[in-house]
Symmetry: C2
Subunit: 339 residues, 2 copies
C-alpha cells in the first residue's frame, strides 16, 4: 500500500473561491452574503474536479491513498477576521469531507484550522474537534505564521500554542506544520515562504524541549523538512554547541519530514541523513510544481520514482516510507485500515 | 591557492562590542559617548584576536587567504537609527582594514553597510565608496532584511535597491547577500534566519530580471545557497511553470553560492547540482558552528575536507571552487593577486 501524506484540494470547483472572494468583499458580514453557509457544489462537480487530476495521477503513479486537505495557500489566515477564518475553514473542511466520502478508498481527510494573526491557537480547538470527532478527519494543518510572511505570532515552542498541542495529543492526531500564502513581497509562496516556514519550524523545535513537554505529540514538517537535511551538519553542530540533543534524537521524539523533494539528488540526501522511520511519502500533488522535468521525462512531483530509484533503501525501508510510518503517525487512519 | 570567501571577525577584542553597547545605551548621542570615534584597540590586541583562531585554522586547513568582514550578526541594522548604523559600520570597517593591513597575505577586506530599516540602500553608497576606493575593500555584505526578521523592506529585485546595484557594477565589487541578527523570536539567527534569508533572496532573483537589468552585477548567496540546491528540482519546476529561465541560467548571469555546508552529503549535493563555475569555497569560520563532528573527528566547518573528498570533482573543478572563481568574482582582489 502506498500512502501520499500530503495532497491539497487545489482543483476544487471555482464556486469555492468565488464564495471566498464574496466573503472577503463583504468583510465576513453574513447579512450581506449570498449563500452564507457556503458555495453550492454538486457531487458531480466534485467527482469531475478530481477525476482527471488527483485520481488519474494516483492511478498512473500507483498511489493507493492520499491524505487530503484544503489548498494550503487558500487558507490565507492573514485575510480578514478570526470569524471569517472560522467560516472559511468550515466551508473548506466540509468540502474535503465530501471528497473523501465520495472516494473513501482514495482520500483520507485532514483539516484546515481557523487561525488568525494574534488570536490564540486554542480558538482552533472546536473546529479540530468537530473535524476529528464528528467528521472522521485524521489530522490537521497548523500554520506557524498566520500573518502570511511577517511572522508576528510567537514561535511554535511558546506556551501560546500549548492548549492546542494538548488537544492534538488527546485526540491522537498529528499536525502538519504548513504555512499558507504569503502577503509579504519578499517571499514567493511555494518557492520561499513554504520552505522557510519549514526551516524555521525545524530550528524552533531543535532548540526546544517541546516533545519532552508533550509526549505523544506528532508533528510533520513538509517539503522534505525545508532546508534541514541539506544543512544537517550545521544543525547537528548547532545542537552540539547549544548542548541540545541531536537532530536524529529530536526526530525520534515525534517529528517527521515528508518527501516533497523534486529531484533525485535531493531525495537521496533526505533518505541518507534522516532516519527512515521519520520519513513519510508525499508528493504535494496537485501542487507547487506542475511541469515535466525535461531531464527525466517525468513530472517533477512524481516523487515515488526517486524513492524507487534509490539503491540504498531496502524494501523494508521503502515500506516504512510508503506506508507503515504514515499509518503510525496518522493513528486514526491506521486503526481504520487495520479494521 | 585556496581562498575562503566568507570569514567574519567574530573574535574581535571585547572593546568593540563594549563601544557598540555604549552607543546603544546613548542612543547614538555622540555628546554623551566616551570615545566617540570608536574603541581604542592596539595592534597587539588585534594580532592576538586572530592568532589562535582564524590564523591557526587557516594554517591547519591549508587556507591561504580569507575574505574577511565584520561579524554578520553584529551588524544588527535593526538597532537604533540610520546615523547609528553609519557610526557603527565605520568603526567595524576601519577595524577590518587594520586586520588586513597587519596580515595582508591572510585577509582581504569586505565591508558592512550602514543600512537601516525603511532607509534607502542608496544611503549606503558613501560608505561603500569610502571602503572600496580609499581603503581597498574588495566587496560588501548586503543585508536583504534590515528589520532583523520581520522583512518589512522591499525585495532585492525592487527599484528600492537599484542605485546601490549601479554603484556595485561601477566599482566592480560583488555583494554577499547576508542577513544579520534576528530580533524575531521565530528565527534563530544562524540556524533559521541566515538560511531563510538565503532562500528568500534566491527565489526573488529566480523570478526576476535583475541581472538582465544590471549586466556585470555579481551577487553571492552564502551558506551553500540556503535551501536552493536541496530543492533544485522544485526551483527548476517553478521556473518552468512561470516561464522564467532555469536556475542554471540564472547563476550564469552573475549569481554565486558559497560552500558553507557542514557535512559530506550536503556538499556533494551542492556541487552535483550547481555549476562549478558558480561555487566559491568558504567555511564561515570562525562562525556559526564551532564543534567537532564526532562522526568524522573534524570540525564541522572544515569545509575543505568535504570538497577534497568528493570523487566527482576534477582537479580543474576544485581549482575553480578553491580559487579561480573567487578571483573572478572579487575582481579587485584578482587584480591585486595578478600584480
Amino acid at each position: 500500500m502506498i500512502i501520499d501524506c500530503h495532497g491539497h484540494y487545489t482543483t476544487a470547483p471555482a464556486a469555492l473561491q468565488s464564495w471566498r472572494d464574496m466573503q472577503i468583499d463583504c468583510r465576513g458580514d453574513r447579512a450581506a452574503m449570498r449563500g452564507k453557509s457556503g458555495p453550492v457544489i454538486g457531487d458531480d462537480e466534485i467527482r469531475e474536479s478530481v477525476e482527471n487530476t488527483q485520481l488519474r495521477l494516483q492511478r498512473e503513479r500507483g498511489i493507493d491513498l492520499t491524505i487530503f486537505s484544503p489548498r494550503a495557500a487558500g487558507m490565507a489566515h492573514h485575510i480578514g477576521t478570526e470569524e471569517m477564518s472560522k467560516q472559511w475553514s468550515r466551508v473548506c473542511n466540509d468540502l474535503i469531507k465530501r471528497v473523501c466520502d465520495l472516494f473513501p478508498d482514495n482520500f483520507a481527510p485532514v483539516c484546515q484550522l481557523p487561525q488568525s494573526p494574534g488570536c490564540s491557537p486554542a480558538n482552533s480547538i472546536p473546529e479540530l474537534v468537530r473535524c476529528v470527532e464528528e467528521l472522521g478527519f485524521v489530522g490537521c494543518n497548523l500554520n506557524p505564521d498566520p500573518s502570511g510572511g511577517y511572522w508576528t505570532d510567537p514561535p511554535l515552542t511558546d506556551p501560546w500554542w500549548f492548549d492546542f498541542y494538548e488537544k492534538l495529543v488527546e485526540l491522537d492526531v498529528p499536525a502538519m506544520i504548513h504555512v499558507s500564502n504569503s502577503c509579504n513581497p519578499n517571499f514567493h509562496f511555494t518557492g520561499a515562504h513554504y520552505i522557510n516556514g519549514d526551516t524555521a519550524a525545524f530550528v524552533q523545535l531543535l532548540i526546544s524541549d517541546l516533545f519532552e513537554r508533550f509526549p505523544g505529540l506528532k508533528l510533520i514538517i513538509p517539503h522534505g523538512g525545508g532546508a534541514a537535511p541539506y544543512h544537517w551538519g550545521r544543525y547537528r553542530g548547532i545542537a552540539m554547541d547549544m548542548k541540545r540533543r541531536a537532530p536524529e534524537a529530536l526526530m525520534a521524539e515525534g517529528l517527521y519530514f515528508d518527501t516533497c523533494v523534486y529531484h533525485q539528488p535531493g531525495m537521496d540526501l533526505l533518505t541518507d541523513v534522516v532516519p527512515v522511520d521519520n520519513v513519510l511519502f508525499a508528493s504535494e500533488m496537485h501542487g507547487a510544481v506542475r511541469s515535466i522535468d525535461p531531464l527525466t521525462g517525468h513530472y517533477f512531483d512524481d516523487t515515488r520514482k526517486y524513492i524507487d530509484a534509490n539503491p540504498r533503501l531496502s524494501d523494508e525501508d521503502k515500506e516504512k516510507i510508503f506506508c507503515k510510518n504514515a499509518l503510525k503517525v496518522f493513528a486514526r487512519l491506521g486503526a481504520r485500515v487495520s479494521a
